[in-house]
């Protein structure tokens, strides 16, 4: 099957740095192969911009395989674009039609400062992980896998939670710019595994405190996060975070 070629109008958010005011700039692209990924389409745009002496559009990316969590922008109002369970780098142009207008904006949240164009500073996530998203008690050497007392069900759920790539689409999609899905992924993953148990109370308290301190909003159960998550992480993990927090708030030191 040979690739089709499509023509697109792009409205891309251009912003020199965090202090500068940004605005949407309009560009026209011709003959974009539908086999291209969204990021390859942006590469073509940047080559075109270089030829005309304009600054290329800055955007984050690394693996381009949907596993690192670096890429991400909001396309026509949807983080990572219109396809479910797909990162921007794995989104292909065959999902668009010739003549489409694509409005491309950075993930927007008070906690995610725009660095330049589509690049945002997501170190707020690092600060949350540093507050408790790890196991620091001595759990001994790697035991025999079959010796660990974990049910298949819990292992599966922990794995689902651990699928988070930390891209920030949940925050971008949330009408309240809340980071609950991200935080719940880590809290849930570690609460489901025996290694995470000794520190579960401090973890829940400290990670929620860090999340609030970073300026994220408050979750109101809008469910936009799980719908936008490229790894389809369920808000069931948020419910588990809530339970973990309740237990910790009532009994933690």
């Amino acid at each position: 099957m040979s690739a089709e070629k499509i023509n697109l109008t792009l409205k891309v958010w251009r912003q020199k740095n965090s202090e500068a005011a940004g605005a949407l700039a309009t560009y026209t692209l011709r003959d974009i192969s539908t086999d291209m990924s969204f990021l390859e389409m942006l590469d073509v745009l940047n080559e075109q911009l270089l030829l005309t002496g304009e600054e290329p559009v800055a955007f984050d990316h690394d693996c381009r395989e949907g596993i690192c969590g670096m890429c991400g922008a909001v396309v026509n109002g949807r983080p990572h674009g219109p396809e479910r369970e797909t990162t921007l780098c794995q989104l292909h142009m065959r999902h668009f039609k010739s003549g489409d207008t694509l409005v491309i904006e950075p993930f927007r949240a008070r906690a995610f400062r725009v660095v330049r164009d589509l690049v945002v500073d997501r170190t707020a996530f690092d600060a949350i992980i540093q507050a408790g998203g790890y196991v620091s008690v001595n759990v001994g050497g790697a035991p025999d896998a079959n010796a660990l007392p974990i049910s298949q069900k819990n292992a599966e759920q922990a794995m689902d939670a651990a699928a988070c790539i930390g891209c920030g689409a949940c925050v971008a999609a949330c009408p309240n710019a809340a980071a609950m899905l991200f935080v719940s992924g880590k809290v849930s993953q570690l609460a489901l595994l025996p290694q995470g148990h000794p520190e579960r109370r401090e973890r829940a308290l400290n990670m929620v405190k860090a999340m609030d301190g970073q300026g994220f909003g408050n979750c109101t159960n809008e469910r936009e996060c799980e719908a936008a998550c490229p790894k389809a992480i369920s808000i069931r993990h948020i419910a588990r975070l809530n339970r973990e927090y309740l237990k910790a708030a009532l009994s933690g030191d």
Binding site: K11, W13, L24, V74, N76, G77, R78, P79, V103, E105, R108, A109, R110, A111, A173, P175, N176, A177, A178, M180, L205, V208, K209, M211, D212, G215, F216, G217, N218, C219, T220, N221, E222, R223, E224, C225, E226, A227, A228, I235, R236, I238, A239, R240, L241, N242, R243, Y245, L246, A249, L250
Partner: protein
């Protein structure tokens, strides 16, 4: 003090407060609805229900104080959360599209809450604290015969239904109750309960407006 701060001063703590106070208010609604359903059985039944209720004066005061507390907490935290959340995204999106999670109810929680508050204040002033010594059935009949008042009730109750359509599901999620075994039940149950509660309440002004035999 630590525990108070853990609940009043954090996002997840405040979520629990909203859910718990919301659950309390929802339970009150159900009791109020059951009691008021005596309206459907005519003036005598309704008046006798009201008389019985008011004979429990001391208990009623206690319940009213508790209820007031629930309302104040729910409103105060609801408003602060709304203001906080607006500030969490200072620069809005040029294009914002739902990824498929939001519902009409979840989008409008703050505004439907305001509508409910307006109805509540109106209801308290004109019925609860009314300087009227006749039978309650006469007062209600007179009120609901007025298209402006009946219309306002219908509008307010529509707001209540919308608020409940999200709230009655959302509160379980906030309380940490979410499991594939019963998620469907909770979701549909919440919608059905919202429809039932708002619908039955709404039937009262509708009957008052269009049926001459209302509370005769």
């Amino acid at each position: 003090m630590h525990v108070v701060r853990r609940f009043c001063g954090t996002s997840v703590g405040r979520k629990y407060i909203m859910a718990a106070s919301g659950l309390g208010l929802a339970l009150f609604l159900v009791v109020h609805l059951l009691g008021n359903s005596t309206i459907f059985f005519g003036a005598t039944t309704f008046n006798s229900y009201a008389a019985h209720l008011h004979s429990l004066a001391a208990l009623l005061r206690l319940a009213e104080i508790g209820l007031l507390l629930f309302f104040l907490v729910h409103i105060a935290f609801g408003v602060t959360l709304f203001v906080d959340n607006r500030q969490a995204r200072p620069q809005p999106y040029a294009v914002s599209t739902s990824s498929g999670g939001r519902t009409p109810g979840s989008r409008t929680m703050f505004y439907s809450g305001l509508v409910i508050l307006a109805l509540l204040l109106f209801h308290l002033i004109t019925v609860h604290f009314a300087d009227d010594h006749g039978a309650i059935s006469l007062l209600i009949r007179r009120h609901f015969a007025n298209p402006w008042i009946a219309g306002f009730y219908i509008f307010g109750l529509a707001g209540l239904g919308l608020h409940l359509s999200h709230g009655l599901w959302s509160l379980w999620q906030s309380l940490g109750i979410n499991h594939p075994l019963y998620n469907n039940l909770l979701g549909r149950g919440a919608l059905l309960a919202a429809l039932l509660i708002a619908g039955l309440f709404m039937a009262m002004p509708l009957l008052g407006l269009f049926w001459d035999g209302f509370l005769r």
